[in-house]
């Protein structure tokens, strides 16, 4: 407690010297502060980027509520300090602390990192270091907190295996309760740290990497992955909740500006479309819709409990919600009652029809985003997002007629079997859309085109393909830049090296832990930030470990290669992914699995009927 008071005094005096000090003080409306000594288990929920970015994270919000609803536990939050704050803390030897009670992180029993994407890895190491907690699993003992991690990136946990005591694979709602039960019991019985971790490993969905050994072939690919600790847990099965709980209404309300400062209501989890590049579409199966009634009552409650004047519906494919028309008309009514703005991200052209457009008409028109992903019908078949060109044009015409003036288009380059005509296809498609927009709405119409590079991800049909060659990608970027010049279309391109790093880490193995550590030692952090990312730190780390990154990025995999993440079971079978990969090579599309079950493995793995659990009628 004395240490906590010292931190408070320190902040009182020194926070004024950093940018946006409001990032480090907590005190938000709906924050929960419990008496430290009134509970047995203390959990810190950590997001490895700054407050402004991490605040809206729905996973943390959800766990914060579940943990604080328990009598025996408390949860507090912590985000990565920005560079100036990091400097202030380390110059004064002040350990990283939680927002609520300003308790040093190392005093918690449990630290749970949410790691949605790979470029946050170095920040995890940095936060542990600032907390004065040993970075390596092997160096932790006794009273050190148990460090766990979850989130999409952890579906390939191996690159971070040396730093995380236990990974949560899949959805957190139920598993967190089981984790807390074990920690609570162990604390009462004074069971030692190592044994607690052993006990945690018995939970379905928990992966304790130190229990596993990986054997390699001569060529550095994997021979097999063995669980040394227990023979009855060969694979770690992703956790799911079969019925979505009601969306959370008592969200925290920030006292300073953050990104996505709005009420996000999750209306659906999972996606049945089966785009082959999309990791979320594979690992978040099966599709489960929240009940319309639950969504609307959560939304009304959230407006009244937070006062936030903007609502957003969250899902991978909002317009695929089975009662989308009713949902939108309800949301429109609610927004009139409370003077709200609302946004509908992730609309799919195939299911976004005039009915839906008519429901939204009259509201303020923001950006309208369409993601064709590829420039030609052929390539859209390869990636299994088969939207005919004409449908795109028709939709654009319709939304322009209804008064939208800002359209944003998303594309990716670097797909296998991609040729220059496919890249030209992107240009032609955009020019035609720009023509339609200008013809309809004249000078007010604006087109933004965002180009990204395909990062082949684990647990997708594209896990076998190589990240496109440097020369190829640069050639395609250059071509696009030239072609878009003087068209009045705004474009954005990613940094090749940032994409390369993401590609390296996405399909990495255990060898990369040392690389991540060395890169961090070389000063890598905030790799997702343009102004901080420096590939030199990574290049040097790879070199000092004699690791050729092209082994991970540039190498097409054999059909039968054992992947570093093969012991992590997303519920979708590897054979299904391989079949999808092969179909892609023949430009064959696969139907939305609502139309016909493709036996991806979800139904048998979880003994469920997808059609039955998809929507539960009120």
């Amino acid at each position: 407690m004395q240490e906590t008071q010292e931190i408070i005094d320190f902040l009182d005096r020194n926070l004024i010297t950093v940018q946006k000090p409001g990032r480090y003080v907590g005190g938000e409306f709906n924050q929960t502060i419990k008496n430290w000594d009134s509970v047995n288990v203390h959990a810190a929920l950590a997001f490895p980027d700054i407050y402004d970015i991490g605040f809206p994270n729905l996973g943390i919000t959800l766990l914060y509520r579940i943990i604080n609803d328990r009598m025996d536990s408390l949860a507090e939050r912590v985000y990565a300090p920005w560079l100036d704050m990091e400097q202030l803390l380390s110059d004064n030897n002040v350990p990283l602390f939680s927002l609520e009670s300003k308790t040093p992180l190392r005093n918690f029993d449990l630290i749970g990192f949410s790691i949605p994407y790979e470029t946050l890895y170095t920040n995890v190491l940095n936060m542990l270091n600032l907390s004065h907690i040993p970075i390596w699993v092997k160096d932790r003992n006794g009273t050190d907190p148990i460090v766990i991690a979850g989130g999409h990136s952890t579906f390939n946990p191996e690159p971070m295996h040396a730093f995380i005591d236990a990974f949560i694979i899949g959805e957190g709602e139920e598993i967190i309760e089981e984790i807390l039960d074990i920690i609570n019991n162990c604390k009462i019985k004074e069971i030692e740290r190592k044994e607690i971790i052993n006990l945690l490993s018995s939970i379905e969905g928990i992966y304790v990497p130190s229990h596993y050994t990986v054997e390699y072939h001569q060529n550095k690919t994997i021979k097999k992955i063995i669980n040394r600790y227990s023979t009855d847990k060969k694979t770690i099965n992703k956790r799911i909740v079969k019925i979505l709980p009601s969306p959370i209404a008592n969200l925290l309300v920030p006292n300073i500006k953050v990104v996505h400062d709005r009420i996000s209501i999750e209306i659906m989890r999972g996606c049945s479309r089966g785009c082959r590049f999309c990791q979320a579409g594979m690992i978040m199966r099966p599709v489960r819709e929240a009940r319309l009634h639950d969504i609307m009552s959560a939304m009304r409650n959230a407006v009244e409990l937070t006062g936030i004047g903007e609502v957003s519906l969250l899902s991978l494919s909002t317009s695929d919600y089975s009662q989308i028309k009713d949902l939108i008309s309800n949301v429109v009514l609610l927004s009139e009652e409370y003077n709200l703005n609302f946004s509908l991200p992730s609309l799919r052209i195939e299911s976004f029809n005039s009915d839906v457009i008519n429901e939204i008409k009259g509201k303020r028109k923001g950006n309208f985003t369409i993601a064709p992903e590829a420039g030609t019908d052929k390539l859209r078949s390869i990636i299994n997002k088969p939207i005919p060109e004409q449908t795109i044009f028709d939709t654009v015409q319709e939304i322009c007629n209804k008064g939208w003036n800002n359209i944003k288009l998303y594309f990716m380059i670097g797909f296998h079997h991609e040729t220059m005509p496919d890249i030209e296809g992107i240009v032609n498609l955009c020019k035609e859309i720009n023509y339609i927009g200008k013809k309809t709405n004249k000078g007010r119409f604006k087109l933004n085109v965002s180009i990204n590079t395909l990062i082949p991800k684990a647990h997708t049909p594209f896990q076998w393909v190589n990240f496109d060659d440097y020369d190829q990608i640069i050639k395609k970027y250059d071509f696009l830049r030239t072609e878009f010049r003087k068209t009045g279309i705004k474009t954005s391109f990613p940094d090749y090296k940032a994409s390369f790093l993401e590609s390296l880490l996405s399909r990495g193995d255990r060898q990369l832990s040392q690389v991540i550590y060395d890169a961090w030692k070389n000063s890598a952090k905030f790799d997702a930030w343009h102004e901080c990312f420096n590939f030199k730190f990574w290049e040097d780390a790879l070199k000092s470990n004699s690791i050729d990154p092209f082994f991970y990025t540039g190498r097409p995999r054999n059909d039968n290669e054992v992947f570093p993440w093969d012991h992590i079971n997303s519920g979708v079978k590897k054979e299904f992914l391989l079949m999808e990969y092969k179909r892609s090579k023949n430009s064959r599309t696969t139907l939305d699995c609502r139309e016909t079950c493709l036996s991806c493995g979800i139904q048998t793995n979880y003994q469920i009927n997808c059609n039955k659990i998809r929507s539960i009628k009120a």
């Binding site: 009182d12 000090p21 005190g27 938000e28 409306f29 006062g307």
Partner: protein, 209 residues
Amino acid sequence: MRIRISYKKSSIIRFTSALDMQRIWERSFRRALIKVAYSKGFHPQPRIQLGIPLPLGFVSLDEKVDIWIQESLLLDVISRQLQQNLPAGLEITSIHEITVSEKALSTQIQFSDYRVYLLDENFSPELISDRTINLLKEKEIIREKRNGKKYDLQPLIVSIESNTEIQGKPFISLRLLSQQNKTGRADEVMFAMGYSITDFIVERIGSYT
């Protein structure tokens, strides 16, 4: 109806900027289920008018904000419902109804009083007094704004008093102009006297017409 709220802003929310306070009020009213009136036009905005902005990091005993609400309500109903829905660190001290045509706060207020608490015990009463007297002798106090523009702080200072104590701790009293385009910043006065940013905390006592 148009109401004028006086409130305290304490240490725990002192890092929420004047700009962010606009949103805080809008949300607090929505939570309190009191409907704020909106401006007309293509992008209707809630009609919330802050007084003289309080710089980031300052605390205050008396801030003011004007708000137009859609219906006529009893003032103590507003006060009670609103207070329950304010974030920690904001406390309503009074609410008055004012005429809709009343001039904006920012055009009415002429000057503000501040108390600056010194955090370091190393500052002796003599040192504080010397620094104060020296600054008051200056004919011109040139300071730089954030945008790099230079300006003279001297005419913005109405008075400085030192050598006062609360519970044995020294503080400095300042009276500075708070007019549109002629506002003296308490922290700038302190810098001009040779104090650094971590030496003090500023409290606004009140603003006067």
